[in-house]
């Protein structure tokens, strides 16, 4: 039996926090994406030729959304669980009749919702700057939701793993940002020399961005089936890790 009241309580609590800090949680991603468009789309983009028949300004939209959504998911979810751990108020969660299901639906669901909203806002913003047509809107929406959820799961794990706020920042900064930048957010993998193309295939983010860009423009760097499998595997791995954390109390209980 799922404790739905608990899911609702956690979700509402987390969303209320988002609304309290709505300004900073919305303005900064929107502002930074707009800057990307100004710099890469308008200023530099004009001198870059079309990729896969798409203008450079439009080409970077999926990558930009991915970049923002991944970093937002991770920071939202990791903070949501790390803060009570830091305060000690997590005692209540640990003593409550909630298990991995309630926690994932509540905390991860809220974090994913927030980054989904931000992703959609960036998508809307981008139409102000560049012409955009979405080839597969349903696939695009599904992918966006799954990626928000998957990276919120990942962020949640980081929030539990981190033993201080420094560690909390380290993973997004040192791992995620490079992987996203090198994952083809702003270029097509096919533009790289063969050696780097091969290396890129070890970067999991490549599969996400490729699939997401496919949903916009119908062209992908890697087969879409492979992308879907990679996303599913990543999500399953995160869920298994969280299940294990709650079973053993790792970094949560003494």
């Amino acid at each position: 039996m799922i404790n739905m009241q608990a899911v609702r309580a956690i979700y509402a609590f987390e969303m209320a926090r988002a609304f309290r800090t709505a300004m900073q949680s919305l303005i900064s991603p929107v502002l930074s994406t707009s800057l990307y468009f100004v710099v890469f789309g308008a200023a530099i983009g004009g001198s870059i030729e079309r990729i896969d028949g798409v203008s450079y300004g439009s080409f970077i939209v999926p990558g930009l959304i991915m970049l923002t959504v991944m970093t937002q998911s991770i920071s939202n979810a990791s903070f949501a669980i790390h803060f009570p751990k830091f305060l000690g108020s997590i005692y209540e969660l640990l003593s409550a009749p909630v298990g991995v299901t309630e926690v994932v639906l509540g905390y991860v669901g809220a974090a994913a919702t927030k980054s989904l909203i931000i992703g959609l806002i960036i998508l809307a913003t981008s139409t102000l700057f560049v012409p955009l047509e979405v080839a597969h809107p349903v696939a695009m929406a599904v992918l966006l939701v799954i990626i928000c959820f998957a990276f919120s799961l990942f962020g949640f794990i980081i929030g539990i793993w981190a033993q201080n706020f420094e560690q909390l920042q380290i993973v997004p900064l040192l791992i995620i940002t490079p992987l996203v930048f090198l994952g083809g957010s702003f270029y097509s993998i096919s533009m790289l020399p063969p050696v780097w193309q091969a290396v890129s295939l070890f970067n999991p983010v490549v599969y996400l961005i490729s699939a997401f860009r496919w949903s916009f423009f119908g062209a992908a760097d890697v087969p879409i089936g492979l992308s879907v499998a990679a996303i599913a595997a990543f999500t399953a791995l995160c869920i298994a890790a969280i299940w294990w954390i709650f079973k053993t109390g790792w970094r949560l209980k003494t």
Binding site: Q5, A9, F13, L87, Y91, E92, A96, P97, G99, T254
Partner: protein
């Protein structure tokens, strides 16, 4: 009132052990049964393991061995069932600072699986003098007020078992009074309560039973009334001029105890009784031809029992046998 011995058990702890990752042994083979509706005071010095014991029952600390049943359910295999009925007011003021009092309390109720009930929360906040603070952000409250919020959070989900971990440590007189009012009301509702304290008077004032814990061991569990009776007892030792082999027949009614060397008799009496019987004892002794060389009196209080038990419990690894408690023993 005092839960009778045949009342069903609410919490059954058997062979509970806890060794922290650091290797520190915080709980040693704890056996303790807490009956439904009773108030148990867990009395012990700092570092005795009180918080560890509570945290383990609540699911915040992982036990290293043993078993705990709450309401007949195992805390490890059926945590959903046990946690639903437990409320915890923690020792530390650990609370999310950026939410309003109202939201904090509403959150707790939901977290424990109960549907929203604004009327109930209003009632709880009013009982705790938090009603006019309901829209204030927690971080703006004083320490005492924050503690009230923690109590409100624990009460919001209508627990059948309530743990109060040092509820009155460093709190103001008002809160202390409110706390006892609440404890009384909950007692009438049949809520089982376990409170930790190192104030003996507090244990005396409200508990039905007292458990004394030291260095991770339960040293004694006793009905408070029994303890109080022994507290009121004093003993008087009378040193005799010449040794006795047996206590004379005429003095039998006094229940005297004769020392091994026959040179001392001990008389126990209740200071709260109308007549202590001392005058008549001395008269009857002189009539029986016994001459008394010296008289010493000693009183045993719960405090002394406590100090003695805890001090005697020096061993870390010896048998956890609780020393026998003898009220008439001079401390």
């Amino acid at each position: 009132m005092t839960a009778a011995a045949d009342t069903p058990a609410m919490i059954e702890i058997a062979g509970l052990n806890k060794t922290y990752d650091s290797g520190f042994v915080a709980l040693r083979n704890i056996d303790l049964t807490i009956r439904k509706g009773e108030i148990l005071a867990l009395l012990g010095p700092n570092g005795a393991g009180k918080t560890t014991l509570i945290s383990t029952i609540c699911g915040i600390t992982v036990p290293s061995g043993g078993r705990v049943l709450v309401g007949g359910h195992d805390i490890e295999t059926q945590p959903g069932k046990t946690r639903r009925i437990i409320g915890l007011v923690p020792q530390e003021i650990n609370i999310e600072p950026f939410q309003t009092v109202w939201n904090a309390v509403r959150f707790s109720r939901g977290l424990f699986g109960l549907p929203p009930d604004p009327a109930r929360i209003e009632e709880i906040l009013k009982t705790l003098s938090l009603w006019d603070k309901k829209d204030e952000v927690v971080k703006a409250l004083s320490g005492g007020m924050k503690r009230r919020v923690l109590i409100a959070k624990a009460l919001s989900h209508e627990p059948q078992v309530l743990f109060l971990d040092e509820p009155t440590a460093g709190v103001d007189v008002e809160l202390r009074k409110d706390m006892w009012r609440i404890v009384d009301a909950l007692r009438d509702e049949g809520v089982t309560m376990i409170l930790t304290t190192h104030y003996i008077e507090e244990a005396e004032a409200i508990a039905d039973r007292v458990a004394i814990i030291s260095k991770g061991r339960i040293l004694l569990v006793e009905d408070k009334d029994t303890l109080m009776q022994s507290m009121g007892k004093r003993s008087m030792s009378l040193e005799l001029a010449s040794p006795l082999e047996t206590v004379p027949q005429s003095l039998e009614a006094y229940g005297l105890e004769l020392s091994a060397n026959g040179l001392e008799v001990t008389y126990a009496f209740d200071t709260r009784a109308e007549r202590t019987g001392i005058a008549s004892l001395l008269r009857d002794m002189s009539e029986a031809g016994l001459s008394v060389r010296d008289i010493k009196t000693a009183q045993s209080s719960l405090e002394e029992i406590f100090v003695e038990l805890v001090e005697r419990d020096t061993g870390d690894d010896e048998s956890p046998e609780a020393p026998a408690m003898r009220a008439e023993e001079p401390a």
